[in-house]
């Protein structure tokens, strides 16, 4: 992906790393001069996607990496990709539904994808069992 105005980050898929990732993406996005609200939306969406990787992707195997890529397009769109090489999602449509969670019900709200969809302009999810998960989100920042 590198070549335009890009960032790539690889980090262990652990819950304690999520704060670092959203701060890093937030700092990268700051060049687009977003409003406080836009920046907060982006950081929240990133937090949800990376948390999903930390909680679900490697739960049945050794913890691996999560890759975070961000790119600023010519028209001011911010594209963010969050990818893991973990267990994958068998039924993506089901996973995206509100309140659906495979985690412990008392800990997870099942709202992660709903928040991403609500706070970003577009969210695509590519996943297959044992092939990992790629979430691609875009958000237009008003100039």
């Amino acid at each position: 992906m590198l070549g335009g105005n890009d960032m790539v980050l690889e980090i262990s898929a652990l819950a304690e790393n999520v704060a670092f990732v959203r701060a890093a993406v937030g700092a990268f996005a700051a060049r687009l001069d977003p409003t406080i609200e836009e920046l907060s939306d982006i950081k929240t969406a990133v937090s949800e996607a990376v948390t999903n990787a930390a909680v679900h992707a490697y739960r049945d195997r050794e913890v691996g990496s999560v890759w975070v890529r961000a790119r600023v397009l010519q028209d001011g769109q911010l594209v963010i990709e969050i990818e893991d090489l973990g267990c994958g999602i068998a039924d993506v449509e089901q996973a995206r539904a509100a309140f659906f969670t495979t985690g412990p019900a008392e800990e997870r709200s099942g709202m992660g994808f709903v928040v991403m969809e609500s706070f970003m302009d577009d969210v695509q999810v590519h996943s297959a069992p044992d092939r990992g998960t790629l979430v691609r989100m875009t958000r237009k920042i008003a100039p």
């Binding site: 819950a15 304690e16 999520v18 704060a19 959203r22 406080i36 609200e37 907060s40 939306d41 950081k43 929240t44 937090s47 949800e48 948390t51 930390a54 909680v55 008392e106 800990e107 997870r108 709200s109 709202m111 992660g112 709903v114 928040v115 609500s118 706070f119």
Partner: protein, 107 residues
């Protein structure tokens, strides 16, 4: 993330500082589990003036606490909620079960 708490007359007062995400929610949940299991706590009041970020992990934590005190006829109240935190609370529909007071409204 820092957390301050006091208990008085069956009300658990909590003051959260910093960013509430999955990692911090797990720590707080564990730290507060004793109070939540205690039948004497019927109401939880959270002052979020210094909470600068919250994702759906925070929603999960609040729903968990709401369910715990609901069994005793209690409630959860939030006050001094910053705009960025209010956005995700409203988006998730939490205002239907939890009283949300914006900045300036003290518990």
């Amino acid at each position: 993330m820092r957390i301050g708490h006091t208990v008085s007359d069956g009300i658990l007062f909590l003051r959260l500082q910093g960013e509430l995400d999955q990692h911090m929610a797990a720590i707080i949940r564990k730290k507060m589990a004793g109070y939540l299991m205690s039948q004497s706590v019927r109401e939880i009041r959270l002052d979020l003036f210094e909470l600068t970020f919250m994702d759906s992990s925070g929603i999960g934590l609040l729903i968990h606490w709401y369910k715990a005190v609901l069994q005793r006829g209690g409630s959860v109240r939030l006050c001094n909620v910053q705009p960025c935190v209010a956005r995700i609370l409203r988006m998730s529909g939490l205002q239907q079960i939890v009283e949300i007071g914006e900045v300036g409204r003290v518990c």
